[in-house]
Amino acid sequence: MARDPKYDILFEPIQLGPKTLKNRFYQVPHCIGAGSEKPGFQAYHRGIKAEGGWGALCTEYCSIHPESDDTMRVSARIWDDDDVRNLSVMCDRLHQFDALAGIELWYGGPHAPCMESRHNPRGPSQIPSDFEVNTHPRYMDKDDIQLVQQMYVDAAVRAREAGFDIIYVYGAHSYLPLQFLSPYYNKRTDEYGGSFENRARFWKECLEKVREAVGDDCAIASRFAVDTLYGPASIEVGEDGVRFVEHVDDLVDIWDLTVGDISEWGQNAGPSRFFEENHEKPYTGQVKEGRHTNKPVVGVGRITNPDTMVRIIQSGQFDIIGGARPSISDPFLPKKIEEGRPEDIRECIGCNQCISRWEIGGPPMICTQNATAGEEYRRGWHPEKFHPAANREKGVLVVGAGPAGMECAMVLGKRDMEAVHLVEADAEIGGCVNWISQLGHSDGNENIFRGTARGLGEWKRIVNYRQIQLDKLKNVDVHTGSRLSTQDVLEYGAEIVIIATGAHFATNGLNPATHDVIEGADASLDWQLTPDQVVKGEKSVGNRVLVLENEGYHMGVSIAQKLAGEGHDVRIITQRGDVATYMEYTLEAPMLHRDLHRLGVEIHPYTMLEKIEPGVCHAYNVWKPDHKEQFEVDSVVLCTQRLSNDELYHELRSDKEALEREGIEALYMIGDAAAPRMIPDSIFDGHRLAREIDSPNPAMPLPFIRERRLWGDVTNQDYESMLQNTPDVEPMVVAAK
């Protein structure tokens, strides 16, 4: 089908200085864990999006010199000609699809801990980073300023050499150029500090020098946080925000606008739990609305809906639709609009699992919705192409339509298996997502900073996308409301049986802190509950509630938010130094803590329960167990650990004769049924099995390409031969350099 004419505007070309952007879809810089050291990962991940129709794709932040080294996190680097060689692969790959390649030149100032290079970053004033621990910059005198500006120029020249079309001077998220602009960082009294013009001077000179060096050949971009959300202490959009845009507008070919800083960059990469689509509009939208620029503006805000995109363009908010997370979740978003099938868009759910991996510091990016994200090169997985399975004539039964089961059945269907049956005990498919997506709310009132706890409703997109795909797949039958017994499975007539029956919360307090049950813990009692029981409303909850949060992700605090929002008197105890520590990585923690604080939820860190009795919980400090405390409670929520629903699998597996008699050739277990895990990992597990259902031993994942340095003489072939499955991604022909 052709695209709907109402979307034509999204496919208009835009001139960016000397370069033409072919449409209005622009992947803004975002981290993936590839940098310059995993060139295959870098090139293939960005390349998939170019194939999917994105008009421009940028690197992540790219360090211009070893003294801006962000190790323990992974940035790109363009320090020398060997980095040029590795990054040029990405440029070549993008140019094959007529997309532009952008590079985000980065100098971190105090936010660069230099743990690998052991250099010392320079900064406008000697104030340690508010993001790193105990990282002081070296004060920049005027010679240093010249030196660092030359680093930008040298890096820009190398970037042009690598083949980049768009070259950024990156300031947003409070890196060096913005540190000079912001009085929060800049306490100087010379001509680089004080007045607006003085504070803007460093950034302006950088832009002038970079433009002078490469501006005839490359588009010059700047990424700018128009409001760092610190009020008058830093950049405010109505003050220095629009003033700076006007001040250097002649020096850029495109503005890439954001809000916030690096210390709380969840205000920019807003999780859906707190921020809705296009949430930055009140800030970034002011730049064009107030006619402060004559240059094209790209902006973001987890924009996944084509109608929102059209509205943004038509209303004059932005010229170009920026996407980081939406492009990870669906690399083919533009193509699906162009082909008139917007219902196939795999919308980002705003869980920020992608970001969590950068925050953790090393692992490659993952995506809940798109299990192929990051696997384009190393596993050869394509988000939209699936070669037919060699054993497609085998009938497959998938038991359980939660995240793993839905994904597995969908991918098996796309791999052209002749008959796949997905059988679910509940009335609807979706598994745990159906109740988890009801969490994340509190009382609906404004958070004390901005936004509200709007809930995890967007997580339901996990189910919606798969439901639509499963409906389209004629070779997949979905049957709901049908709980299969061992005998039912044996007699089902499937040659391949996949168990995806999920997990449940421990009801006896078994937990990761003590590896033991808790005396008196029993969620079969009417005043003790597991989290799912709270959501499903099966039991009434008393006024004084204690939530035992041993999990470390969002479940315990989500329950606390919900109950406190409903007016209960809630306290959380956790064995860790803080609740929900993983939410630091997903950037949800700051807003979460504001909400818990506002709701009056009491948090007891380094605390564990010894015993639960009617009306009272006996707690102790984990560092000094004889330091005890008692809490009077009416209800207790046990968010301790989960256990697999694996009885069906083990019963089937224990009777090999029966399996053989009934013609079951293979039996697998995926997702939480095998081991409880986070949703993206369940979806990955289901996807992985389906991708490798015709491998010699599908139960064991095939090896993937590992882009580590190999000793001695090595060719690209040495890496690519590590792949033992048929890649669905077209390999690129790279000329030796």
């Binding site: 008959a419 007699e491 089902y492 007539g493 499937a494």
Partner: protein
Amino acid sequence: MKIVVPVKQVAVLDEEFEVLEDRPGVDPDAIEWDLNEWDNFSVEEALQLREAAGDGEVVVVSVGDDEAEEGLQACLAKGADRGVRVWDEELDAADPLAVAQVLAAAVEQESPDLVLCGVQSSDGVYSATGIALAEHLGLPHVAVVKGLEYDGGGNTATVERELEGGLVEVLRIGLPALLTIQTGINEPRYATLRAIKQAKEKPLEVKGLGDLGLDGGAVEAAAGSRVRSMSHPDTGEGAEILKGSPSEVAARIAEIVKERMSG
């Protein structure tokens, strides 16, 4: 107990489709074929009656071309014992009354205790075939049945119909009889992979008009109507599409309601 269940493979249209220019009909590329929703319930009801009786036979009958085979296979996979498909090119444009005439000839060859039809088909939506079939067969009939109890050894059944306002009408009917079954009367089962495979071994007979002692003339004589043309309706006037944010849209709706109420 022998039950005949006439079923239909219906056309399911894509969201967007074109009508044909040379004859009444829809572009076949925009059509997918599926078993009529109501027929899932009539088949299930028949299977449950047979299972409760302990023996008997459920025969599914369909008037249709090759596409209808798939629907009959689906019924056989769920547990029907035998299938009969009737087809002749003369039936291409048959209306419900003509189809009822053909079904009558096919059902008469089976001499069933009970005939269970769906209330209607989702593509034609005439709700006529079942009742016309009862007329041809000379059987007592009840339409839009939402509850059915067979009296066991006897030859009556108690049926429930839902009327307007939630009223329930309870009737006793002597067998043999014809009932048209409403959705929701039961929870239709699904077929396992094994049952789908085994269904391919079950008898599925294909009959022409001649096998039923009919010909094109008889079918034409039975017809009550023919489709002369098919077209998309003209776009009406008076619709206003509201644009803007949810609050803007809500404000506009409130305005309109106030205008109309004061007018």
